[in-house]
C-alpha cells in the first residue's frame, strides 16, 4: 500500500502552497484519480484521514474526482473513454494509443483560508497554473 507515501507527498505540496500564498489554513484539497492512477480512492481517503490527524490538520476536506481513462489514437486522432482495458483504437483498431487522462494521481486545487485584511495578498494572482505532467 503506497497511498500513505503519496498522500504524505500531497500534504507536503499543499503546505508549501499554503506558505507561498500566505494562507492561514487549508480548507479543502481537490484531487483527481483515474483507473490507472495506481491509487485506490478509498485507501487515499483513509491515508488522508490518518495523516491529517497526525499532522494536526483535522477539518481539511478532501474532494476526490474520479475520472475515466481517456485515450487518444495517434492514427485516426479519435479521443475516447476506455472502459475495457484493451489498448486498441475503438475506431481503427490501431495500437498507437496515448493515454490523455486517468493514469495519474493529480492535485487539482487547494482552497486556503486567508486573512482578507492583509493588503500584501492583494494583487497576488489567484492561480499558479503549472504544466501538466507529460505522459510517456
Amino acid at each position: 500500500m503506497h497511498e500513505m507515501s503519496l498522500v504524505r507527498s500531497l500534504l507536503q505540496q499543499v503546505e508549501q502552497l499554503r506558505r507561498q500564498h500566505g494562507g492561514l489554513a487549508v480548507e479543502q484539497i481537490e484531487v483527481e484519480i483515474g483507473p490507472l492512477s495506481g491509487v485506490e480512492p478509498l485507501l487515499v481517503g483513509e491515508a488522508f484521514d490518518t495523516l491529517t490527524v497526525e499532522q494536526s490538520l483535522t477539518g481539511v476536506q478532501l474532494v476526490i474526482q474520479e475520472v475515466p481513462l481517456t485515450v487518444h489514437c495517434l492514427k485516426c486522432c479519435l479521443d475516447f473513454e476506455m472502459t475495457e482495458l484493451d489498448f486498441h483504437c475503438a475506431n481503427c483498431n490501431s495500437s498507437a494509443i496515448r493515454i490523455i487522462g486517468g493514469d495519474e494521481f493529480r492535485l487539482l486545487n487547494v482552497t486556503l483560508q486567508t486573512d482578507s485584511a492583509d493588503d500584501s495578498l492583494h494583487g497576488v494572482a489567484s492561480e499558479s497554473g503549472t504544466q501538466r505532467g507529460s505522459h510517456s
Binding site: L6, L24, L85, L107, T111, T114
Partner: protein
Amino acid sequence: MTSTRTITVNQDVQAEKKRRAAELRNSFSQRGTFVINLVSSPGAGKTSLLEATAKYWQGKHKVAVLVGDLATERDAERLRPYVPVEQLTTGGACHLELALVERGLQRLPEVDFEFLFIENVGNLVCPASHDLAEHLRVVLMSTTEGDDKPGKYPKMYRTSGALVINKSDLLPYVPFSIDAAIADARLIQPDLAAFTVCSLTGEGIESWCQYLEEARERMIESTRQATECTAL
C-alpha cells in the same frame, strides 16, 4: 476577517519526483548506462534472471545491480560473485523510490556501467507508479503464476516495455500457455517485447541479452541525436 481563496494546481502529485527521475535518466544516458527496472511478483525469479544475465555477460559488459527488498541482504549475496551489487532495504515499504536508488548509486564503487539493473521489491502494484529513472521497465512472470495475470495488473503492464516469462522448464507440468499470457499482456501494451527463459538452465537468456544490447544501442543513438540537435 478571513476569506477563502482557491489555488489551481492541476499537476501530478509526483510531478517533482518525475522531473528528478527524468534528470537522472538523462545523466545515465549521457554516460551510456542503460537502466532496467525489473519488476515481478515475489518468487517469479528476478534474482535468478539477473544471475543468469550477469553470468552470460561476464567479461563482456560492465553490469551493476541495485537490489530492493523489505529486509535481508540475501539477494545481494547471490549476485555479488558476478557483479557489483548494492542492497536497498526498504524497511517494510512495498516499492522502491527514486531517493533509495540515488542513495544506492552513491554506494556503488564506480558509475560507468553499461547496464544497471534495479531489482524492485516483489510487487506488481505499487512499483508501477514510481519512476526510478529507468530506460526500460521489464515485467517478469513465471509459468507457475497463471497466464491470466497480466490483465490483473494493467498499470504495470502498460508502463513496461518488455515481458520475460521465466521457468520455461516447468511448462510440461503446469497449465500455462505462453501465447495466452503474451496475448493478455499485449491487450494492455501492444508494443510489449516478449521472451521466454529458464534462468536455471540458461534457455532463452541469449535472446534476452541480445535484446538489451540492442535497446542500449538505441538509447545511445537517440542520446547522440538529441545532443546534436541541441548543439545546432
